[in-house]
Symmetry: C2
Subunit: 223 residues, 2 copies
């Protein structure tokens, strides 16, 4: 599959065409191998049929290329989250559907998700912008839920908690796939409802309560 096509030079004004070819080659490579480190500049260059330094004509370094790849792919998440909240009958359902779309996307694009959301925080600003975008969706839906009266409290805090929840599901399943995970949708819905209910309850179990009291309080919630 290592194409030996030498690729014709682009015409005069079309130098930017190479950028697209490099980008799609890198995207394909990352999708095929699902491994960041096997997306080497040499592998990308070979697939495009071009020499390695040509990549530097359009991307500052390897990180910039990977960022561009992830940005492209996360565009799908952006769309999925928008659709999910658009199609939902109410704000709570919107939140649920967004959460589901989020974990589905993460598990469908595990290596992309890993690069953007589970990588070292050192510099690497574009990843943070992508993350901010995703967080923004959650924040909007949480705000809508507060407006609807189904949630109460600081929207940013609530959104961070929900985001941490869905991210926990997604990232742990990506990193530890051999654990006995239940089917994704059911597992997500269970956690989502639990967190939703728990956040709506707007109360905490104080420390130092006796075991009996804790049990009694929690039992009183049972359906």
């Amino acid at each position: 599959m290592a194409s030996d096509a030498p690729r014709k030079r682009a015409p005069r004004g079309q130098g930017a065409a190479l950028r697209g070819e490099v980008l799609t080659a890198a995207m394909d490579l990352l999708r095929e191998t699902s491994s960041e480190e096997s997306v080497s500049l040499r592998a990308v260059a070979a697939r495009v049929g071009v020499s390695v330094p040509s990549i530097y004509l359009h991307f500052a370094d390897k990180q910039a290329l990977l960022d561009a790849v992830c940005e492209e792919v996360f565009e799908q998440l952006h769309r999925a989250l928008k659709e999910a909240s658009a199609d939902a009958p109410d704000a709570f359902e919107a939140l649920r559907q967004q959460g589901m779309a989020y974990v589905r996307f993460a598990l469908a694009n595990p290596e992309h998700y890993r690069i953007v959301m589970m990588g070292s925080p050192s510099g690497h600003d574009p990843a943070d912008e992508i993350a901010s975008g995703a967080f923004g969706h959650v924040l909007d839906s949480v705000t809508a839920c507060i407006g609807l009266g189904v949630l109460e409290g600081d929207p940013v805090d609530l959104a961070l908690q929900l985001w941490a929840g869905v991210h926990g599901i997604a990232s742990l399943r990506i990193a530890k796939p051999m654990f006995p995970w239940p089917p994704l949708e059911d597992f997500f819905d269970g956690t989502f409802c639990a967190v939703g209910i728990g956040l709506a309850a707007q109360t905490r179990i104080p420390v130092g309560l006796g075991a009996d009291e804790v049990t009694a309080r929690l039992n009183s919630l049972r359906a």
Copy 2:
């Protein structure tokens, strides 16, 4: 800081002494730089005052060295989780203290946590064993909670949900530290109580309920 001490050769039976020196050098380097990639074999060897291939006398490859480092550090997590559940007055409190100890450990050792819990799942068995150990603690405490009557259901499922929850908090704060995170302990306790309450409630919000019905159900839970 690149030690130029040539290090004396170990006496006859003490070849294994080098293993320890390499291990602590790697641990120090990882802690100091908080960056996996700057722990190169050459840097480790230089710090010990030994040549690079000597490392291979005691570690199969770089991954094995990093695994050993993480295993060593995660021993602290093991102890912290054991203490947390030992000191707690009841099973629910044990679970809470374990969760708190877990996120505290993760944020105190971010790069170690990243390597073990947020890395690519490819091979790398030792990381999975470490993860299994941590999961085992959660599972034990969940089982105790079920025995105490404060939780109900499949212990493995419940433990996975709780684990995903604490991992979500820890890993997202590690990967995206510039988000407006509230103070750790308070944030954790909020999420923990929410999840605890939600799981104890043992019910789900069905899809297709109207917004009013959802609001009414959740409102009925408020303190």
